[in-house]
Point group: C2
Chain length 141, copies 2
C-alpha cells in the first residue's frame, strides 16, 4: 500500500538544523531569554545544557507568568531568575532514524519536536509546518 511507504520514510530531510534554531541555555538569566524570544518572534524555543543536551522549552508566556506580581509586572525579577527556574521540561524528542509516521503522531500535541543523535546531543527541530507541507505535496501526486 502506497500509504505505508510514506510513514516509513526517514525524517532527515525535514529537520531544521540546530544552527538555524533559536535557543537558550538553562543557566541564562531570564532577561536574556525574553530578548531572544522577542527578537526571534517564536512562541517557544528549546533550552539546552552545556553538553548540548535538551533540557526543555521556554516561552514568553512562562517568563511573564513567573514575573507577574499581584500589582504589576515585576521586571527586576528578570535578573534574579534563570531559564532553568521557569522552563517546561516536557518536550518530545525523536532520534534521527525515527520514521515520518512517528513524527506525525508526536506532532499532534506539540508544535515542534527536538531531534537528537544516538548520544542524545541536539541535532535540530521538526516543525508541524514541515510535516503539513510534506502531506500537502503527498496528496498532490
Amino acid at each position: 500500500l502506497k500509504n505505508s511507504q510514506l510513514v516509513n520514510n526517514e525524517i532527515n530531510e525535514l529537520i531544521i538544523p540546530h544552527e538555524k534554531v533559536a535557543h537558550v541555555h538553562k543557566n541564562n538569566p531570564l532577561n536574556h531569554a525574553l530578548l531572544v524570544l522577542i527578537k526571534s518572534g517564536y512562541t517557544a524555543i528549546p533550552v539546552l545544557d552545556h553538553e548540548n543536551k535538551i533540557q526543555g522549552q521556554i516561552s514568553k508566556a512562562q517568563i511573564l507568568d513567573s514575573i507577574l506580581g499581584l500589582e504589576r509586572i515585576e521586571m527586576e525579577r528578570l535578573n534574579e531568575y534563570v531559564v532553568e527556574d521557569v522552563a517546561d521540561p516536557d518536550i518530545p524528542t525523536l532520534q534521527t532514524d525515527s520514521t515520518f509516521g512517528e513524527a506525525l503522531m508526536r506532532s499532534i500535541n506539540y508544535p515542534f519536536l527536538c531531534i537528537v543523535d544516538e548520544n542524545g546531543a541536539f541535532i535540530g527541530i521538526l516543525t508541524r509546518r514541515s510535516i503539513l507541507a510534506l502531506m500537502h505535496r503527498y496528496f498532490q501526486q
Copy 2:
C-alpha cells in the same frame, strides 16, 4: 485513488464551534484582551466585530510589543488602546463547504483557520492539531 477521496472530504467534523473558541471584540480595551489570552493559555485568538464577522487575530506578543516603551513596559497604555489598534488583520478563512485538501494547504502557514458561513458569519476554527490527528488516523488504516 484512495488519496483523492480524503482530500475531497468535507471539514465539518473538524471544526471547533464558536462557543468553544476564546475570542475578543475589536472594540475591547487591550487589558481585557490580555486577560482573555493569559487565562485561555492560547498564543493567538480570533477578533470579531459586532456583526460576528472576523476582523483578524491578536496575540500576547502583539499586545506587549504595543506597550513596550524605551525604558519599561507601560502598563497604563493597556487602558488607552483597543484590540482593533493592535490586531493582525491577516487571518485565513474558509467556508463550511471547503474540502480537507484546502484546509491542509492553508494550515501549512497558519496554526489555525477561521470558518465562516455563506454570509461571512463566524462559525468556528480549524486547528493544525485536528488536521494532524486526522492524517494520523488515515495512515493507520
